[in-house]
């Protein structure tokens, strides 16, 4: 398992709480950074945030992206990642409460790698996290983020 963090883009602090808790319950111990809106996500990824030091804010190996975000919508963030991010190939898993066909279609069109719907009951969240861990970290293979090979 690599040491590059997961970047969770989520504005709801309860959901952040439940996600972190679900990670513990799923025994998924992996570094994670959290940003709270679209602008912050872009700032983090482009290295322009206050934590602009890459050792402080290393590029993520996986992004978990909520869609309905303040300041900049998740789909815009996704478009920005694929067009302009330092590592445009980074896997993005959309995790949202929207079951709208339109959102799904747009998300995949803009390059989402996966689209998960937040379970209506937080008790079901650890199961989702387990699946993410199993798929993306146990079975799926991915390279280190662009330009970070030497660090790896």
């Amino acid at each position: 398992m690599n040491e590059f963090p997961i970047l969770l883009v989520e504005d709801d602090e309860n959901d952040v709480f439940f996600f972190e808790r679900a990670m513990k319950q799923a025994q998924f111990d992996h570094p994670m950074r959290v940003v709270r809106d679209g602008i912050e996500a872009i700032a983090y990824l482009s290295g322009e945030s206050t934590q602009s030091n890459r050792t402080e804010s290393p590029l993520p190996c996986l992004i978990i992206l909520d869609l309905n975000l303040p300041r900049k919508h998740g789909l815009e963030v996704l478009q920005w990642i694929r067009a302009r991010a330092p590592d445009p190939a980074v896997p993005v898993v959309v995790l949202t409460s929207s079951a709208s066909d339109l959102d799904m279609r747009e998300a995949y069109r803009f390059g989402a790698n996966s689209y998960l719907i937040k379970p209506s009951h937080p008790e079901d969240l650890p199961e989702v996290v387990r699946v993410i861990k199993l798929y993306w970290f146990d079975f799926n293979r991915m390279p280190p983020p662009c330009g970070e090979e030497l660090l790896a």
């Binding site: 309860n14 439940f18 929207s98 937080p122």
Partner: protein, 627 residues
């Protein structure tokens, strides 16, 4: 003796010769007399012929002096032969033609060449002694007697013929104008001009019947280029005539053409001063009629005195009726066209209204969609938090809570759960309402069995579900139909009296042909509907959706609590809940989703039930071809 004999012989010879000579002379005399007689007779015969000829015959010598002037010529020119013979021919030729005519005669005399130009160009007009010019047709020949050339001219007065021709061609012109004109407004001025110019009347006008105040109103005035009639025109346009008043009114009252040889002497002509001021003298008018219907009057004026002319008036009875029929036809056409335009305008307006309202409605729907999306996201997030924290409290901090606190916590969880169900159902309903539902053949048997297998309350330990196999294939949207069947089965096992083991029987019935007719009749007379929900859905049947072989009715028969008759009508409405929530949990959306989904697939739903005796819900869908 011999000498005497010789003398006698000579005398005899002489006498004989004398006798022969006398005889010859007398014979010659007789013959000459006879010839003279014959000549005289012949001359008399020719003279009689000439004198009794219908055509005017004139003989002219080389100096253009008249040598013969027959009675027909006397009548034609109004001049006695005695006054004419010996005088120059010129006096019978309008002065403007005289010079050219003389030259032509000389040329003819020298070359013997005659041509038709003589008739067509130069002797077109004759001049009567009263100064009147008239059209003539002439033929000329020359003879030479004793070195003297004599010209003979035969003339025919073609005034009558020309007039008849002009009238005929004016009549034809009117017919042609009426045939070619698209509108009344362009036809009438053309008709006035054709008649005026064709028959030589300087001014023409058209009076149309205005039925509201029942008067004639001037529609058009035409004038020849030479006519200066402004004041007359103005008064015509400003005046209206009731029946019997003035010339138009008289024609209206009598429905017959009328002729006024001299306006100044007419006692019933209102515009006399104006007519006199612009020099109009004679007039005639005729009615414009279509069958029995009087439509108007056409008038013509001339600056000259015109004798009454019955033939002219007779001709205009026909023309008036022709114009009348044209006006009626055009009015009918205009009426039709106007009606069509109005219909088109209404249709366009309606279309626009519909488009505008649809746009507004769509806007509203979009707002509502955005609203429901925001409910989904924004309301479910805090709800998730409530559920999540409540469950964490219940599981991990139960030791620190007393029984009451734990009961409250359960209530919080239950309430959050109910709220969540509610939101989910609302979203399902709105998805069914606004989504596109494409129909494909669906295997009902498999669909029902899959639902039963995946929905725990339908499993053997909770309920007894019987399926009357095989269920047919139907045309439906599989996702929507899944929701419909799940909701109906879910209701069937939910609404039972406590302690009852739910039993549900699913069966299908083909409604071939018969029902098609019934539904069509239903659409035509919806007020006769047996069931309110069928009435609502029947109008939405897409008749030509896909090739189909009739209808299938799917029945869900349960042993539940049943539905009171008076509640059945509103059963499928959204938010309708017939039971107290503490007995049967629900959002009141499930059956609304069922009805909306089925209707959007072109089908219908209904229920047969009695309070306490179970319910038989049915869903009717188009049958698909069996494999």
């Amino acid at each position: 003796m011999g000498t005497s004999l010789l003398i006698l012989f000579l005398v005899v010879i002489f006498c004989a010769l004398l006798w022969w000579w006398v005889g010859s002379v007398s014979k010659y005399e007789t013959e000459r007399n006879r010839a003279e007689e014959a000549l005289r007779e012949s001359q008399e015969r020719i003279l009689r012929l000439i004198n009794s000829a219908m055509d005017a015959i004139i003989a002219v010598d080389a100096q253009q002096r008249i040598t013969l002037f027959n009675p027909a010529t006397e009548r034609m020119f109004g001049c006695r032969a005695a006054e004419a013979v010996g005088g120059p021919l010129d006096r019978f030729i309008p002065s403007r033609f005289r010079e050219a005519h003389r030259g032509h005669i000389e040329n003819f005399g020298q070359t013997g060449v005659t041509n038709r130009r003589m008739g067509s160009l130069m002797t077109l007009s004759g001049l009567r002694t009263n100064g009147e010019e008239f059209p003539i047709e002439a033929s000329i020949s020359q003879v030479e007697v004793g070195g003297q050339k004599t010209f003979k001219v035969i003339l025919r007065d073609i005034t009558q013929r020309q007039q008849a021709e002009r009238r005929l061609s004016a009549s034809h012109a009117v017919t042609r104008i009426l045939a070619e004109s698209a509108a009344l407004s362009s036809a009438i001025p053309s008709v006035l001009q054709a008649i005026g110019e064709g028959l030589g009347w300087d001014v023409g006008d058209m009076w149309i019947l205005d039925s509201e105040p029942n008067v004639l109103r001037c529609l058009n005035v035409w004038q020849a280029d030479s006519a200066q009639i402004e004041s007359f025109k103005t008064v015509s346009y400003q005046t209206t005539f009731p029946p019997d008043s003035s010339l138009p009114g008289r024609v209206w009252a009598s429905l017959k053409p009328a002729f006024i040889p001299d306006i100044a002497k007419d006692t019933n002509f209102v515009r006399t001063p104006q007519a006199a001021a612009v020099g109009l003298r004679a007039a005639f008018a005729f009615p414009i009629v279509a069958g029995d219907k009087f439509l108007g009057v056409m008038e013509f004026f001339s600056p000259e005195y015109r004798p009454p002319d019955d033939a002219l008036l007779q001709m205009f009875i026909g023309i008036g009726s022709q114009i009348g029929q044209f006006i009626e036809r055009k009015r009918a056409e205009d009426g039709l066209q106007q009606a069509q335009q109005e219909v088109q305008q209404h249709a366009a307006k309606l279309e626009q209204t519909v488009a505008e309202r649809t746009a507004r409605l769509r806007e509203t729907i979009n707002e509502l969609e955005a609203f429901s999306y925001s409910i989904a996201h924004d309301m479910r997030a805090p709800l998730r938090a409530m559920q999540g924290f409540a469950s964490i409290l219940a599981r991990e901090h139960a030791a620190q809570l007393d029984a009451t606190a734990q009961r409250y916590l359960q209530r919080i969880e239950a309430a959050a759960h109910r709220m969540d169900r509610f939101i989910v159902d609302i979203l399902s309903y709105s998805k069914i309402v606004r989504g596109t539902l494409d129909s494909t053949p669906v295997d009902l048997e498999k669909l029902v069995r899959d639902i039963v297998a995946s929905y725990p309350p339908l499993h053997d330990d909770k309920a007894e579900i019987t399926i009357d196999s095989p269920l047919p294939r139907v045309l439906a949207n599989e996702a929507a139909l899944t929701q419909v069947v799940s909701n109906l089965l879910g209701n069937a096992v939910k609404f039972v009296t406590p302690g009852t083991h739910p039993r549900v029987r699913v069966s299908a019935e083909r409604m071939d042909g018969l029902l098609d007719k019934w539904i069509n009749a239903e659409a035509d007379a919806p007020q006769q509907s047996i069931h309110p929900h069928i009435q609502q859905s029947s109008t939405e049947h897409p008749r030509n959706q896909q090739s189909s072989t009739g209808w299938v009715r799917l029945w869900f028969e349960d042993n539940g609590i049943g539905i009171p008759k008076d509640s059945q009508a509103r059963l499928f409405n959204i938010f309708t809940r017939l039971n107290r929530p503490e007995l049967y949990e629900g959002t009141g959306i499930g059956l609304a989703i069922v009805r909306k989904a089925v209707e959007r697939m072109g089908g219908s739903v209904g229920v047969e039930s009695e309070d306490g005796k179970g319910s038989r819900f049915w869903v009717q869908l188009k049958a698909a071809k069996e494999l």
